[in-house]
């Protein structure tokens, strides 16, 4: 029976060793603030934002230990300042790119998020963390995860509905990442 008393601790240690000591990992919240406000103007409007996660302290601190991206979101308050209702979508490319116009963005980038619907002039849509989680496109999400696990840079484009002339202002916009980091 004395040997049995060592059984559980030994089994535990074997399990921890065999699985790469996952116990020491954690989920770290990092966020990138978008300029506030910014606007998407016109039928072919697109807003470009280069994101360098290395400028975020918590990301830079844990980058070498990054194992996965556990959660992500695009949040903010979207206001239609003039024009018919439509949608807002976010596209992504790895690294730094310069696509101009919604049509080129749709053709040359990968959809990350959306479309989120917005009503006609005066309509305000608040996209929170939970609401945003429903709107991710798996292909774009993978581009973002690869970028986060890579050099930490990517470019996002926010576009309205191609062909619909309106002005959508985005306030307090941000990108949320929850990274899994461990030894």
């Amino acid at each position: 029976m004395r040997n049995l008393r060592l059984l559980l601790p030994c089994l535990g240690l074997v399990a921890l060793t065999a699985t790469g000591c996952f116990i020491a990992s954690g989920q770290i919240f990092v966020h990138f603030d978008l300029p506030t406000p910014f606007s998407i103007v016109g039928a072919d409007g697109a807003d470009r934002e280069f994101v360098d996660l290395n400028t975020i302290h918590d990301y830079a601190k844990h980058k070498d230990k990054l194992k996965d991206v556990s959660d992500l979101a695009v949040v903010g308050r979207f206001t239609n300042q003039g024009g018919p209702g439509g949608t807002v979508s976010v596209y992504i490319t790895p690294g730094s790119t310069s696509l101009s116009g919604a049509a080129n963005v749709v053709a040359g980038a990968t959809r990350l998020w959306g479309p989120a619907s917005i009503g006609a002039t005066g309509s305000v849509v608040n996209i929170g963390w939970n609401e945003s989680a429903k709107l991710f496109d798996p292909a774009g999400k993978q581009v973002l995860i690869d970028a986060a696990k890579g050099d930490g840079t990517f470019t996002i484009y926010t576009i309205g509905t191609p062909g619909v002339v309106n002005v959508i202002q985005v306030d307090n916009g941000g990108i949320i990442l929850v990274i899994s980091a461990g030894p």
Binding site: L7, I23, S25, H31, T36, K67, D68, S70, W129, N130
Partner: protein, 187 residues
Amino acid sequence: MRRLATGVCMAVAVAVLAVPAHAVSVGIGAFGGASFPVVQDDNGQGSVFGVRVPVSVVPLIAIEPYFGSTHGGSKDQTVAGLTFTRDGIDVTSYGANLLLKFGGPLQFYPFAGMSSSHLKRTGLDETDTAYDFGLGLGIKLPLVGLSVDGRGELDAAVDKASSDASRKWANVTLGVTYAFAKFPPVP
């Protein structure tokens, strides 16, 4: 999930059949308590409850299949001057623990086990393999077959995308168990 359940059932059956020299007791218990996420910036404190079926196969060892349900609390974070709330993660687990029991009416026992855990919230719906270990303190009540226990344990659900990462919870629970069946030793 089905494979894990089958494995647990087979392990219990083999353990029961392989140790005929001792009395085997089977019980059923319920537990509940608090669940604290460990280094999870996107998940809040919640509650946990469940049922256990302890099977004592030899005097010191019990195998305990269990079902557990954790309701995670929401978590607030501030982005660009606004506070955003993320729903907590709900976890449903089916698994088994191995308990090493010491003592008489007052029992002390380290334990460890594994489970299939389903993590769910908006934007998250995945089943992971989870490991747990902890310490328990149990008291056998004067009432026949009844005991109460308190446990502290660490649960770790291993990330499907990276086996080097996991979500972890520290659970503190109270439980009550009724041993309803005992099988006499086989001569």
